[in-house]
């Protein structure tokens, strides 16, 4: 169904509230479709992956970032350019592993959850899990296999939202464009 984005003359910017509410409608629909939270989490991750493999192309074209030489540069680009562009926030980067292959993104304010409380029967739901899939899919298209997961979540009572990113390996082979 998809093609290259058409670069028209209208503004590329929008206010985030419509996105926030539409995302909520998506999560709600998945909760109706799948009985348990783990399946919803998995589906959000998969959807996010498919979004990420398309979004990266637009991101690279629009942001003009050059090739990153190491994982630290990648972390900076993710936090200061990508998150800023698509969610309007700049997470901080902390908790680097000694080997430099793991770090955390700390989101003090997560716009996706602006109107959200988790119901009691969805305590295992990772509401924003789409983001982990987006990160994973996007980075795979630039030859990086990573793991992204939420380790803290304000919806679950934590003070901040924390996404842990782990570099697994560099990808040398060509990959299919997305998973079904």
């Amino acid at each position: 169904m998809s093609r290259q984005a058409n670069r028209g003359t209208e503004s590329k910017k929008m206010s985030s509230e419509l996105f926030t509410l539409t995302y909520g409608a998506l999560v709600t629909q998945l909760c109706k479709d799948y009985e348990n939270d783990e399946d919803v989490n998995k589906q959000l991750d998969k959807m996010g992956y498919n979004i990420g493999v398309r979004l990266i192309e637009d991101f690279l074209a629009r942001s003009n970032v050059g090739r990153c030489h190491d994982f630290r540069e990648t972390a900076d680009v993710i936090a200061k350019v990508a998150f800023k562009m698509y969610l309007g926030i700049t997470p901080s980067i902390t908790n680097w592993s000694p080997a430099g292959d793991e770090f955390s993104l700390i989101l003090e304010n997560n716009p996706l959850v602006d109107f959200v409380e988790l119901p009691d029967n969805h305590s295992s739901l990772i509401y924003s899990n789409l983001l982990c899939g987006v990160l994973r899919g996007a980075l795979e298209m630039v030859q990086m296999a990573v793991e992204a997961r939420f380790v803290q979540d304000t919806l679950k009572g934590d003070g901040v939202t924390e996404i842990r990113m782990r570099f697994i390996r560099r990808i040398e082979d060509n990959l299919p464009a997305g998973e079904e």
């Binding site: 169904m1 998809s2 093609r3 984005a5 058409n6 028209g8 003359t9 209208e10 503004s11 590329k12 910017k13 929008m14 206010s15 985030s16 509230e17 419509l18 996105f19 509410l21 539409t22 995302y23 909520g24 409608a25 998506l26 999560v27 709600t28 629909q29 998945l30 909760c31 479709d33 959807m47 498919n50 979004i51 398309r54 979004l55 637009d58 991101f59 629009r62 562009m85 698509y86 969610l87 309007g88 926030i89 304010n109 716009p111 602006d114 109107f115 959200v116 409380e117 988790l118 119901p119 969805h122 789409l130 987006v134």
Partner: protein, 181 residues
């Protein structure tokens, strides 16, 4: 799962692409859930309605629009303020009847379909952007205006532009108004 925003969230301007792709994922999910296009369209409208009833509160708080005295003023605000704020576009407006209750919003470019080449096979009646109709309808209802909102033209169906028709119905009685699901 939702609550009113007790604290005013920070106002974020974002690039549209993540939203547009997420919207596509939502429509794709509904296409898995419902066999018939009419059901997907209905569901998108219903979801949009729920979104519109919440979004209007944010819109009124941020846009500081004054009370409108005519349907034409309302349509102008929808086109020039609301669409601009939430989708980054400004549709043009036409009035379709002499009693000035039927209007059209004409979108030369519809950002929601930016990554969509064509409707999937077997989905020729799908109103891909039907969320927008529900949003407009829900938002108007929260300011005590009843309207029918439908797509009259759709670039995904081969039309040159996208046209949303808004027909204002009888004004809702404010005192008797009850919020519908």
């Amino acid at each position: 799962m939702s609550r009113p925003a007790h604290r005013r969230p920070e106002y974020h301007k974002i690039n549209k692409d993540l939203f547009v792709l997420t919207y596509g994922a939502l429509v794709a999910q509904l296409c898995k859930d419902y066999e018939k296009d009419e059901d997907v369209n209905k569901y998108l409208d219903k979801m949009g309605y729920g979104i519109g009833t919440r979004l209007v509160e944010d819109f009124l708080a941020r846009s500081c629009v004054r009370r409108c005295h005519s349907y034409s003023e309302i349509i102008d605000i929808i086109a020039q303020v609301a669409f601009k704020m939430y989708l980054g576009i400004t549709p043009s407006v036409t009035c379709n009847n002499s009693s000035r209750t039927e209007f059209s919003l004409i979108l030369d470019k519809n950002p929601l379909v930016e990554f969509v080449e064509e409707l999937p096979a077997g989905r020729s009646s799908l109103c891909y952007c039907n969320l927008l109709c529900g949003i407009i309808r829900g938002a108007l209802e929260m300011v005590h205006l009843a309207a029918d909102v439908t797509f009259l033209q759709d670039t995904l169906k081969g039309d040159r532009v996208t046209e949303i028709g808004i027909t204002f119905l009888k004004k809702l009685d404010e005192k008797k108004y009850r919020r519908k699901k």
